[in-house]
């Protein structure tokens, strides 16, 4: 299980930092380098739009798997906003197969950029978790505590 802190150290802060009115703009967030020992796949960007929430990842194959191992993403992966029960389901994946399919790498020097598309979350300041498995193993892509502050989002053209 990968645990993400955030650059403000706000893991224990209020669940929703402030309640801003929903916006209809598309926002891009660059996720800063985080102080966690394991960051593979690395969360790179998060995009909010009316149609989807997208998270971009970069993965490099580790040395300890024969030929770099493999990757896949569970179809049950979802996003949740801390403090709320609603789940924002995975809609699509680009660059990574949805399980049971998987991509087998060919070497320990391989790498892969991929994006996951989820149902759109409200455009409000929040702490976001991405859950691939409710009871995760070290192989699951679970990320906790991704802090989104709407004022830090950059408008982008779709």
């Amino acid at each position: 299980m990968l645990k993400y802190s955030n650059h403000f150290g706000l893991l224990n802060s209020p669940k929703i930092l402030n309640k801003m009115a929903d916006k209809n703009t598309s926002l891009l967030f660059e996720i800063p380098k985080l102080d966690t020992p394991k960051q593979n796949p690395k969360v790179l960007r998060l995009l909010l739009s009316k149609e989807f929430t997208r998270i971009d990842f970069g993965y490099t194959t580790p040395w300890y798997y024969d030929k770099g191992g493999w990757i896949k993403i569970s179809p049950d992966t979802f996003l949740e906003i801390e403090g709320f029960t609603e789940k924002y389901r995975l809609k699509n994946a680009d660059g990574i197969p949805i399980a049971p399919k998987r991509t087998n790498f060919k070497s320990t020097e391989d790498w892969q950029f991929f994006s996951l598309y989820f149902e759109p979350i409200p455009q409000k300041d929040c702490i976001l978790n991405m859950i691939e498995a409710e009871k995760p193993t070290s192989k699951d892509f679970n990320y906790y505590g991704i802090v989104l502050k709407m004022e830090e989002g950059i408008c982008f053209l779709e």
């Binding site: 660059e30 971009d56 790498w111």
Partner: protein, 313 residues
């Protein structure tokens, strides 16, 4: 031209067809084709040419109602037409993977028009061949970066560093696209690096146009990036300077035949060897070029560059 010929006014459809057949060296050309072409020429722009072609019932032939009319405002002579035909060969040879989709589409339009005009063009043997390697990864972003440079739009993209094996999100304020040895690069101010940086398009993923203020770079820096480099990756902390090398007689031939930069100056010695100077920003590619010539190229100045190159051996 046929309709402006004062020596033979009011040509008939058959006469026009015959002249076109002769001029364009065609085996077959029907009067129907010419009739359709003239109808097309009569159509208003942009689909047609607004040509004031009219059938004169008294003289039973065609004429321009406006005697000064020329198509597209440009009158083509026979030699112009020949030049266009020759250019088609060149355009064909540099087409395909070396140009963007947008340019390729435009080129296809021109080629199809030309083929309509000169249908025998495809039958001719091509006398020109250039390197047309397969499309490279990342080249699909060419149009987006080109637009971003011209509209001054910042771009967010994910970059993979081959050497460090890591991914990073980058925000670039691009001002130049550069091609070197069929590799494409985007150059601009990187917010993360807080300086002008060059990124290989093959390592760029998911570029997105941002709605934020564009950071402009000094004109002198842009000009330097465009003019004072051999290659694309400058050796850090070294400005444009004089680089002096000594070439063997063999290497001298190549550098004389294929100068690598506008600033290249060759001073030949009696034994055929030569001293060559350049005014360049030292780059990784320049170092590689010198090393690729082995003992035929000896770097003389500056001293640090000699050491730098030695360390790469």
């Amino acid at each position: 031209m046929i309709l402006r010929n004062n020596m033979r006014k009011y040509p008939t459809l058959e006469e026009i067809t015959e002249i076109c057949k002769r001029k364009l060296d065609l085996e077959k050309l029907s009067t129907e084709t010419i009739k359709k072409d003239m109808e097309h020429m009569r159509e208003p722009q942009p689909s047609g040419f607004d040509a004031p072609i009219s059938y004169n019932k008294i003289y039973k032939g065609y004429e321009y109602l406006d005697a000064d009319f020329v198509m597209g405002g440009v009158s083509l002579t026979d030699s112009d037409v020949d030049a266009i035909k020759e250019s088609i060969d060149l355009i064909r040879s540099i087409g395909g993977s070396r140009v963007s989709e947008k340019f390729n589409n435009a080129m296809e339009k021109i080629l199809s028009t030309i083929l309509e005009e000169f249908p025998d063009g495809t039958k001719k043997q091509s006398y020109l061949q250039t390197m047309t390697p397969p499309k490279s990864r990342g080249f699909e972003h060419f149009d987006l970066f080109y637009t971003a440079c011209s509209t001054k739009t910042p771009i967010s993209f994910v970059h993979y560093n081959y050497k460090k094996r890591n991914f990073n999100a980058i925000t670039i304020h691009p001002f130049l696209i550069k091609e070197f040895e069929n590799k494409w690069y985007i150059i601009g101010y990187s917010e993360q690096h807080k300086e002008v940086r060059t990124f290989g398009m093959d390592r760029v993923f998911a570029p997105i146009q941002l709605k934020k203020t564009f950071i402009k770079v000094e004109k002198a820096i842009i000009e330097q990036e465009a003019n004072d480099f051999y290659g694309v990756f400058p050796i850090p902390n070294h400005k444009k300077q004089c680089i002096k090398i000594r070439l063997s007689d063999l290497a001298t031939n190549y550098f004389e035949a294929y100068p690598i930069h506008e600033s290249q100056k060759i001073q030949k010695e009696p034994d055929g060897y030569s001293i060559v100077t350049f005014q360049l920003v030292p780059t990784i590619e320049l170092t590689r070029l010198f090393l690729s010539h082995g003992y035929h190229v000896e770097i003389l100045e500056p001293l640090w560059f000699i050491e730098f190159t030695e360390n790469l051996k």
